[in-house]
Subunit: 178 residues, 2 copies
DNA sequence: TACATTAATGCAACTGGTTGCATAGGCGTA
DNA sequence: TACGCCTATGCAACCAGTTGCATTAATGTA
């Protein structure tokens, strides 16, 4: 299970509360591994039980319940152990292919608007990634090992979206030939 | 939920038993929407209750329990209703990006072998798709609407794998610069 | 005849992820 | 002061998907 390892990584970068993790997730690794606050809190609880992380009342908690989590040595070891493991490829699992197939067999159901909508959603994501790239990885910046890896991850997202956009263009063109 | 609609589509092409569906799934739409036999049997049960499909003892069942499922008009309507709906984009959810990030923050953990392994798994899939393409969509065949859509779906798989292979090549090259 | 394999279906338990709701303090503003 | 929003955490119920196992019949093979 990757969520706890994603959390360990995030907490190594910066000890944080569950809430902060949830927000940071949305902006970084969350592009490749989504999690709701519920999952995050649940997982933090488990990890604390397992002795991988420790929680303290956050310094700027005031009178709130805010807790800050820190990775313990056991957590760091677990991350190192896990990171080297072989894992499964992500599964290609796309609802829309099911709709397309239904359209081929029992349609046509007029999928053009949906094709266009999806193409534009991919374009939105691509623009968002490009904006992050321009901000975080300007060409003049010195490429440390860490920065290069982070950039590489982002490029996976960029290429993924570009690829789908190209496919949707092809699909739309095919549709207009009918 | 797409599984039942994938099943409806499959059953429209060809009334079948759960077992047959499970095997056909592995070879066609299963590339884009996986399901175990368990899920399929469970779903067939639900759909029969909902009045979308009907089951009869399969003509060549002999003394076995084999049942054959057929789509009823209500099922066909449900498929048409669903097919036109807007759906969510598939989520980009890749374990390996979590490992890479862990490697950037707390590594290096020596991810090269895993990078190579994953690249070659993608290459395997690509070859499998290419083989299907050569067999099912030879250039001389007449492209009906249905055939063109099926080919389009397959191409999504092909481009997806090509895209990942290109990314892994870039990643491996980056790694060798260290 | 015995044994392994494949066809065919299904139960039970579990895991990961989602949804809806609840709580409670802090902060800005009308 | 009252209202709404944001920060922050959590419970409970649910759903989809996975895993392991069990059953029964037919088919092939040593």
């Amino acid at each position: 299970m990757s969520l706890c390892h994603a959390l360990l990584t995030s907490l190594l970068e910066q000890p944080s509360s569950g809430y902060e993790l949830a927000r940071r997730f949305d902006k970084s690794i969350g592009h490749f591994w989504q999690a709701t606050h519920q999952q995050i809190y649940r997982e933090l609880g488990r990890m604390e039980k397992a002795g991988w992380i420790r929680s303290d009342a956050d310094p700027d908690a005031g009178r709130t319940r805010k807790r800050s989590y820190t990775v313990l040595p056991a957590g760091r070891e677990e991350l190192a152990r896990w990171a080297g493991e072989a894992g499964p490829l992500p599964e290609l699992r796309d609802e829309f292919m099911v709709r397309l197939r239904a359209d081929a067999v029992a349609g046509p159901f007029g999928l053009r608007p949906e094709l266009e909508r999806r193409r534009s959603l991919h374009a939105d994501k691509l623009h968002a990634y490009r904006a992050i790239e321009a901000r975080d990885f300007p060409s003049e910046a010195e490429p440390t090992r860490q920065r290069r890896i982070h950039h590489l991850i982002l490029k996976a997202g960029i290429q993924y979206e570009q690829n789908w956009i190209a496919w949707y263009d092809e699909a739309l063109q095919m549709l207009s030939e009918d």
